[in-house]
């Protein structure tokens, strides 16, 4: 419970700072960026608090999806600046990274399941404590 509260506070703090930062941008107006930030924070919260390892991985994906969406929103805003070709490779790179993280994470979760018979992080911690 404690952990959830702390995580929620941390996420809220990060969110507040980001929103303040973006709101102070004179040319920033679109709601897409705010929506993408919401996704980012949501994913972050799930990743930090949920004890189901698969859900954690899903949270990771939601978080990164939020970031990609944010980039897309930016690409639209800054199309007038002439260097708009950059975000797409950056997103491709990010996508590849997230896919790899997801793959390697899921592979590890599968093998952990073989050892412990559960994918619940707290359960695993408990069983590990019993081992030692």
């Amino acid at each position: 419970m404690m952990r959830k509260v702390v995580s929620l506070l941390a996420v809220a703090l990060i969110g507040a700072v980001l929103i303040v930062a973006l709101a102070k941008m004179p040319e920033f107006g679109g709601g897409t960026a705010f929506a993408s930030l919401f996704l980012f924070l949501l994913g972050l919260y799930v990743m930090l608090t949920d004890s189901n390892l698969i859900k954690k991985v899903i949270g990771l994906n939601i978080m990164d999806t939020g970031i990609f969406l944010f980039f897309i929103a930016l690409g639209y805003r800054s199309s007038t600046r002439g260097a708009a070709y950059m975000p797409s490779p950056l997103i491709f790179g990010g996508l590849a990274a997230v896919v790899s993280f997801t793959a390697i994470g899921l592979a590890m979760i599968v093998r952990l399941y073989k050892y412990y018979g559960t994918i619940d992080a707290e359960e695993i911690m408990r069983k590990r404590g019993e081992d030692e």
Partner: protein
């Protein structure tokens, strides 16, 4: 000749991809294959260094637009780190020829070596990334390879450590990407040189955006390079992984992220902007706490590799402190300590691995008298310990006095006291091991270590480098001076 650094990358990538199919061949040993590739890369790095020495630093623009877009910056930082990475990487690989078969399943060996080469590929690319795109991509490849290097060893601890590392690393990647996005949003550029021109103006119009971007990038790389209190993943990962993985992790990987973030901070944002925000103060404070906390936590550990891991947390804080002082001497100290700690800590992990290989002992208490059973290994461990404590004549001392100069140059003598106090703490947790190994009990006769020769050779060469740098650091200092000037003119 100017494409040599790219050739290094191509060689590593091709070898990493080719190693697994090639290992199906009967007479092909993946370990020796990887060794050959790394030796070739070290050779190329040396030639490339000589080329830069003759013609000066230069940049490559694969995109074709000089000054913008993708850039491969072959400056003195890249030269210095190329030499370090490939040298240490090669020596760790030599060590693994003897050690790895005892730690991993035989069938995993080709995969391990492929991932290892992939990590070296990413490190080599990371340190010469001249734009944020390249930098991000290589960071990610490096992180994923690093996770795989930890998780590949069979056992529950490695899986758990790897998973923890994966989540934190992925979180860090997300933060870095978001930070880069925010920078791009205001500056419209990803090339570091172009950013250096664009950011001051962007900072005028939307300072908050730049603040948040800097914080996100620093926190992201802080997680990856284990800046206190973001080091939570490190002790588990370094302590449980296979010895060569721990060595490359502690010795190289986490430090190259610092180079990356230093490039962003000093070359793109500029020292003035960095100095005008509270970030340096916060980082200095955190690194001070990190130095003490890492040392104190190392002091209470009972597992040798875990102690070394916590010692890394303290030592990495030294490096970060050197950079955060943001004066030439401090950056020189940081760069020197990257090289010296890279050589020293990988050496210490290798000696710990050798002790585990030979005797199976991991607990520090049981190391009593190990100096008589494994005199060479223990002597090399002692060299590493004295180096990290900062005794004159060992490499760690050289970086210590440069860090001290940095603190004095920045007008903050208090950090000299911090560095010295932590040297004392290092002594308190390293020396008892050395003392117990050689003294204070019924002494038997010396017997030779009898390790496989690749392990002995790797440790001995690392120890020789340590002493060489400790006594004649002139050449390295010259290189470091040029590299520091590239970061902070």
């Amino acid at each position: 000749m100017s494409h040599l650094p790219v050739v290094i990358l191509v060689v590593y990538l091709a070898a990493a991809l080719g190693l697994i199919p090639l290992s199906k061949l009967k007479r092909f040993s993946p370990g020796w294959g990887a060794l050959a590739v790394t030796s070739l890369a070290l050779l190329l790095a040396i030639v490339s260094a000589l080329f830069v020495g003759a013609n000066g630093p230069y940049s490559l623009f694969p995109g074709g637009h000089a000054g913008q877009g993708i850039e491969i910056a072959v400056d003195w930082v890249a030269v210095l780190m190329h030499l370090t990475i490939n040298l240490v990487g090669l020596l760790i690989l030599v060590f693994s020829q003897g050690d790895l078969e005892s730690e991993l399943k035989r069938s995993y060996l080709p995969i391990y070596y492929a991932v290892y080469l992939l990590a070296l590929f990413a490190l080599n690319g990371l340190i010469m990334a001249g734009d944020l795109f390249n930098l991000y991509i290589f960071t990610e490849i490096c992180s994923i390879a690093a996770i795989a290097l930890v998780a590949i060893k069979p056992g529950k601890q490695c899986l758990q450590a790897g998973l923890k590392y994966m989540f934190l690393s992925a979180l860090a990647s997300g933060m870095i990407l978001l930070g880069i996005g925010l920078v791009y949003m205001v500056a419209g550029e990803l090339n570091i040189r172009a950013l250096a021109e664009a950011i001051p103006q962007a900072f005028q119009t939307c300072p908050w955006n730049v603040y948040v971007a800097v914080s996100l990038i620093i926190v992201g790389f802080g997680i990856k390079s284990a800046l206190f209190p973001l080091h939570l993943w490190l002790p588990d990962a370094h302590a449980s992984a296979a010895t060569p993985s721990s060595a490359i992790h502690s010795g190289l990987i986490i430090k190259m992220y610092i180079i990356a973030v230093a490039r962003i901070i000093f070359q793109a944002f500029g020292p003035n902007l960095f100095g005008s925000i509270p970030a340096p103060k916060v980082i200095l404070l955190l690194s001070t706490i990190g130095i003490f906390a890492g040392s104190v936590l190392a002091l209470v550990q009972t597992d040798l590799k875990r102690m070394l891991a916590y010692s890394t947390v303290a030592q990495i804080s030294y490096i970060i402190m050197g950079f955060a002082l943001a004066v030439p001497a401090g950056i020189r100290g940081g760069l020197l300590h990257i090289v010296n700690h890279g050589l020293t800590k990988s050496m210490l992990f290798l000696t710990a691995g050798a002790i585990i290989y030979k005797t199976g002992i991991r607990r520090i208490e049981e190391l009593r008298g190990i100096g008589f059973r494994m005199p060479l290994t223990t002597s090399i461990f002692s060299i590493g310990a004295l180096s990290l404590i900062g005794f004159p004549g060992f490499s760690g001392f050289v970086s210590k006095y440069y860090l001290a100069f940095g603190a004095l140059e920045a007008g903050k003598p208090i950090y000299v006291a911090v560095i010295l106090a932590s040297s004392l703490l290092n002594a308190v947790y390293y020396l008892p091991i050395v003392i117990r190994a050689f003294l204070g009990h019924k002494t038997g006769k010396f017997t030779w270590d009898q390790l496989p020769w690749p392990m002995t050779a790797a440790m001995t060469v690392l120890a020789a480098f340590n002493l060489y740098i400790g006594i004649l650091p002139g050449g390295l200092l010259g290189l470091v001076k040029l590299a520091a000037a590239a970061l902070l003119p």
